[in-house]
């Protein structure tokens, strides 16, 4: 019996929605309110995606397994590639996820090495931070997630600070 094909949506739809979402929230509110709103939208999305993507996986035994899952399977589902580099501090409370070519920045034309440029580009990283935070929270790893843009275009890092 043939399985019905998985329903798919063009990625462009998401990209356009993302652009509009960032614009809308920053237009109607000040920066910190807009960031809080975008992060909480990301949080809910991350929570729901975590349910779906972790469905067929065996249970995680510790925080490190969860982080590795985020860096590999979760990142691949969302961004079609795994995280390029993972660093952690000695006590494993801070993890830094480095992506050389972050998919949601690939169409950003603005140079991020000017102060205004970097603030504007940073707006697009709030939602993905929320997604990571929401996913980790759903696995029982409460944390704060922030992002930094790095020098190479499209390159960024996410800092996960476990609470």
């Amino acid at each position: 019996m043939a399985r019905p094909a998985k329903r798919e949506v063009a990625e462009t739809c998401f990209e356009l929605l993302n652009i509009e979402m960032v614009r809308l929230y920053h237009e109607k509110d000040d920066t910190s309110t807009a960031r809080a709103a975008l992060e909480s939208i990301g949080f809910q999305v991350g929570h729901q995606l975590a349910e779906r993507y972790s469905m067929d996986r065996p249970r995680f035994s510790e925080h490190l397994d969860v982080i590795k899952f985020i860096c590999k399977e979760f990142w691949i589902e969302l961004f079609k590639k795994p995280v390029d580099n993972l660093k952690t501090n000695r006590h494993r409370e801070i993890f830094v996820l480095h992506d050389n070519k972050f998919r949601w920045l690939r169409h950003v034309s603005l140079a991020a090495n000017t102060p205004q440029g970097s603030e504007l580009v940073a707006r697009y990283l709030v939602f993905p931070c929320g997604v990571v935070k929401g996913a980790l929270a759903s696995f029982g790893v409460p944390c704060e997630v922030t992002a930094d843009i790095l020098d190479t275009p499209g390159s960024c890092s996410f800092q996960v600070r476990i609470k």
């Binding site: 809910q44 929570h47 729901q48 975590a50 349910e51 779906r52 972790s54 469905m55 996986r57 065996p58 249970r59 995680f60 035994s61 397994d65 759903s138 696995f139 029982g140």
Partner: protein
């Protein structure tokens, strides 16, 4: 059949206690583990099975089949998990609240009837 739903609530609540116990025992010992927790306990006419997801959602299955087959139970849990994921992915669902979805209820009924 006209079974008292309150009785099932009681059975499921006891089951959740057993699940919590199993999970806290598990964390003291070995690595990882299965989502399927196996038979939690027996209650007069019913066998109660447990399953926990990576996101710490607990699924409890109450079975009155006198000759249970573990493969069927596992398959039912797999389908319940899939129905749960679909229900939770609803953007109008609020995390932590009771799931209020006709398609979720329908899916669960189908799973329950399928094992008869």
């Amino acid at each position: 059949s006209d079974v008292d739903p309150l009785r099932f609530h009681f059975i499921v609540h006891c089951a959740l206690d057993v699940v919590d116990e199993r999970l806290s025992n598990r964390s003291k010992g070995s690595s990882g583990g299965d989502s399927f927790l196996g038979l939690l306990y027996l209650s007069e006419d019913y066998r109660i099975y447990g399953y926990v997801t990576n996101t710490r959602a607990k699924l409890v299955l109450v079975d009155d089949d006198p000759e249970p087959k573990e493969a069927d139970i596992k398959e039912s849990f797999r389908r319940m998990h899939a129905a749960y994921v679909n229900a939770v992915s609803n953007p109008f669902h609020r995390s932590g609240q009771v799931i209020n979805s006709k398609s979720f209820t329908k899916a669960l009924l189908q799973i329950a009837e399928g094992t008869r």
